[in-house]
């Protein structure tokens, strides 16, 4: 082959057109005819095409090196296994998302008041029960039940006393907080209301506080706010802030 045979600019551009399929049809026809009949011409064109291919291919090769740098790195070369694991992970992730979503829905929707109530509600510690021979034996006997968490028993004993002294703020107060501790909010409210009707009661701040909590639990926000406002406790102010 005559490598040093001259290739004119014109021939180069003709081969480019042929190579790129941009040759008009009649030109292509003549060109292909000459390729068939002129062996030397054929060799020359082939060689020019080799150059065109060579340049393109080498350029591509160098591009591939660039691309290779940008392949996302995988820690795990066990592709299939990692795919399965990925799938498992996706399943778990999806499940987790659902659980979290449902949880959030329940948590947020499940009444923020309820949450506030749970945060703040602690049963009244009750009164100290000393071993003494007071006439209030039944009252303190019930107080023992109350402190032991047996609210129902305490309530039943106190209610007997309450029947005798319906306006006694102490009894009304403790029946109220006992019902509240027993999660019977509706019954707690009237007793607590009776307690606060005794304006000089020592339990007044506590009664307003627990009344506020009771209303909160029942989602009676305005009444809860009114009750908390009358209670001088720090907790009441915190809850009021949270309710805003």
């Amino acid at each position: 082959m005559k490598h040093n045979s001259n290739i004119s600019q014109e021939l180069l551009e003709t081969v480019e057109r042929y190579h790129n399929h941009t040759m008009p049809q009649d030109e292509r026809k003549t060109f292909e005819q000459r390729l068939e009949n002129d062996a030397e011409f054929n060799t020359l064109v082939n060689d020019i095409q080799s150059f065109l291919y060579g340049i393109e291919q080498q350029a591509l090769k160098e591009k591939l090196e660039e691309f290779h740098e940008e392949i996302p790195i995988r820690m795990d070369t066990e592709q299939k296994a990692s795919k399965v694991r990925q799938f498992q992970f996706m399943k778990i992730a999806a499940a987790a998302v659902i659980v979290i979503a449902v949880g959030c829905f329940w948590f947020l929707n499940g009444s923020s008041n309820e949450r506030l109530y749970d945060n703040y509600f602690k049963p009244d510690p009750g009164l100290p029960t000393t071993m003494s021979s007071t006439d209030n034996y039944v009252f303190f006997d019930a107080m023992v039940n109350y402190k032991q968490g047996d609210y129902k028993k305490a309530i039943s004993k106190w209610e007997v006393l309450q029947n005798k002294a319906p306006q006694n703020d102490t009894i009304n107060y403790f029946i109220g907080v006992a019902y509240l501790a027993d999660k019977n909010v509706d019954k707690a409210i009237p007793y607590l209301n009776k307690t606060i009707s005794t304006s000089n009661s020592v339990f007044i701040d506590d009664a307003y506080y627990y009344l506020g909590l009771a209303y909160l639990k029942n989602d009676h926000i305005e009444q809860a706010k009114a009750a908390f406002k009358k209670s001088k406790y720090e907790n009441s102010r915190e809850i009021l802030k949270a309710l805003k």
Binding site: H3, N4, I7, Q9, L12, D47, S50, F51, L52, Y53, G54, I55, E56, Q57, Q58, A59, L60, K61, E62, K63, L64, F67, H68, E70, I71, P72, R74, T77, E78, Q79, K80
Partner: protein, 193 residues
Amino acid sequence: MSQAQPIDSQSTLVNAIKSNDSIALKSLYTSNYHKIEHLVLKNSGTKEHAKDIYQEAFISVWNNIKNDSFVPQTETALQGYLYQIAKNKWMDVLRSKRFKQTIAVSKLNHFEPADTAHEKNNDDIFKENRLEGIMNVFKTMGSPCKELLTTFYFEKKSLRDIAEELQIEENTARNKKYRCMEKLRELVITSQK
């Protein structure tokens, strides 16, 4: 990952590859590599082997698309074709004498025996050597010419655009390109002496 693409996107991909669209080439390249790497690593190869084989296969696919000897028929045909070619190439490597000398035969059972032996005639071998010679010379060619030829022949930029970028006349760019081509031919000739 290589997701199933509708056939029309395959033909879009083919056209993009034919015009050496950098984005299409890159996405085809990067999204199919790991499958080959997995295959090669599972079959006595290293990551280096995987890369070499994959790039060889990629260039073959590119060539076959360019000269229309491969036309995708199904949705993921191109990706599958790339995998198949890489796999065949790796099988050839495994069967080669040099490789067998160092790797226990028992490890190769995974592959079935050769179904088609590739027989090359002298013409093909001559052409291949010629192409390789040109590529090697072009690889080491000086920057201005190499760049110009790459932009014109690989990136398929028009002479007008190239001229604009270089802030020269279009005709000057055309002459430059011709002279660079002549230079490359010269370099190839001297490299063979």
